[in-house]
Symmetry: C2
Subunit: 340 residues, 2 copies
Amino acid sequence: MAKNDKRAPAHLLGVDLGGTKILAAVVDREGNLLAEAKRSTKSEQGQQAVIDRIVAAAGEAVASAQLDMGQVAAVGIGAPAPVDVATGTVYNAPNLVGWDQVPLGRLLRDALDLPVHVDNDVNVGTLAEHVLGAGRGTRHMVGIFVGTGVGGGLILDGRLHRGFRYAAGEIGHMVMSADGPLCGCGRPGCLEAYASRTAIEREVRAGLEMGRPSILPQLMAQSGKSRLTSGLIAKALAADDELMGSVISQVQRYLGLLVGSLVNLLDPEMIVFGGGVVEALGDPFLEPIGRVARERYLQQRDADRVRIVAAQLGDHAGVLGAAILAGQQSGIAFSPGAPT
Amino acid sequence: MAKNDKRAPAHLLGVDLGGTKILAAVVDREGNLLAEAKRSTKSEQGQQAVIDRIVAAAGEAVASAQLDMGQVAAVGIGAPAPVDVATGTVYNAPNLVGWDQVPLGRLLRDALDLPVHVDNDVNVGTLAEHVLGAGRGTRHMVGIFVGTGVGGGLILDGRLHRGFRYAAGEIGHMVMSADGPLCGCGRPGCLEAYASRTAIEREVRAGLEMGRPSILPQLMAQSGKSRLTSGLIAKALAADDELMGSVISQVQRYLGLLVGSLVNLLDPEMIVFGGGVVEALGDPFLEPIGRVARERYLQQRDADRVRIVAAQLGDHAGVLGAAILAGQQSGIAFSPGAPT
């Protein structure tokens, strides 16, 4: 290595801005995560306080990587909201108090004196799985993230498909039934109203109220949690809880129908499932989804080649994807190697 | 113009292979249709007879344009079946007797001694609307064609999105309800089972059997037709037939929900509706679709900019799109002007 390589801005900084925490990480051009740092978001303390904590996390990550900011080429950040990628403006963010039309790109650029690129957190996670995770080498890939809600991202022709208003990928709000249960968005029958952790909790509570036997009340009391977490869902399934089993079967059925629709529409080579529910339940959760989906493929030729797989990057998808975004938007060549 | 321009292969030949007829047309590089010719398909007479009639129609179109085959740069053809675009192979074509795995590209290349490019007829029609019709200048556009079935095509990032098995665009087989009416494909709840002419006829017949009053039996007897045509649907609506009105309202509702899902997933700037039903009913058919769709958009910002419009090219979309395909696949620059 030439001596001056150390001073060249060869690294990328990825930031994952969440409703509860901020993660920042330094990533090299091969996709290796060199160091990371964490802060609480505490958006109720105001926008400037959040910006300050992003800057602090970024500084700490760069310092732990034994670098200085001059060695960072660009910053990427994923925000839990619709984002105008061209301007870096964050629109109505449901989990960030008072965040609507926030010029996050400009604010961070001023604070860090570096190029900053902003995108939606699910897009950024999808990008990470495509470049460094389960979807490496695919040309058309769909990311589906099942947690409190259901998020989605599309890689088409090797690139993130954002749509003309930067509003694409809202898989959770595809219609699964004209008269289905009410979704958090206020409309009936969205996929999210059938297949999110919120939907699972609603169905479990309805079952308990109808007097169906279940170990869930006992598990929830033991854990001291008032909400149904992905971990508790996994525990109930592991204990062969019949109520949870039947609720999850319905979730798998709807996710299978969704995948069937997506394959008929987009014909991707891979569907990557991630998010808290999928991480907790693992590969066995995906098998019935694939079975239902495959029955819906209009084109049965080469149906085996459509792969349905679990995401690989877990909690790191956000910072890695943000770093990849920073590289792509800055025109920096990024050559993925094996993550360390 | 230089003298030798007349002999340069500056023209494109587009062929629309349908279940009942073959259309061939000569198109110049500005998208002007110079001449066309027609033959019956009569696929029951065997593959070679169909190939011969395609060649005859092509020859007649070229002759009517006062050109010879040496002035044709390439041939494009749209087939009513899944097509492997890389090899020009036509897979199981429901409306062409005995057509499965037919190397149409190679057969026509041998017969015409010209480069031949094959694609699915709906893809080709979508391409035409994008380059010469309603979708001119758009970057992301969805074509939805409502006839006996419901076909679809996707223009994403300015280009036809075909998918990795060339199976994309099957909008008619997106799931609208897990337990809906049976589709022609054998599965329950596909969009096509709610929103095609086949579905309209099924619902109208069910209404008549239940004794609902309607002028349709009278209209059908007058026309001497045993099937419900798009023209009869239009006549019944024009006469304020209550049964037809309620059936069409349901169709519009499902098409609206579909558009809502497509906008949430792909965020296109335009949805182009074509096909026999849409041509017969015109713009008034689209307005309620737009109303239902818009209520489903998760992203309401700039919702006005998502346009839902009628296709412009009608029956010519097939030959024009095939000619455009020929140009694109041959790397020939194509500069659309105003069609003559």
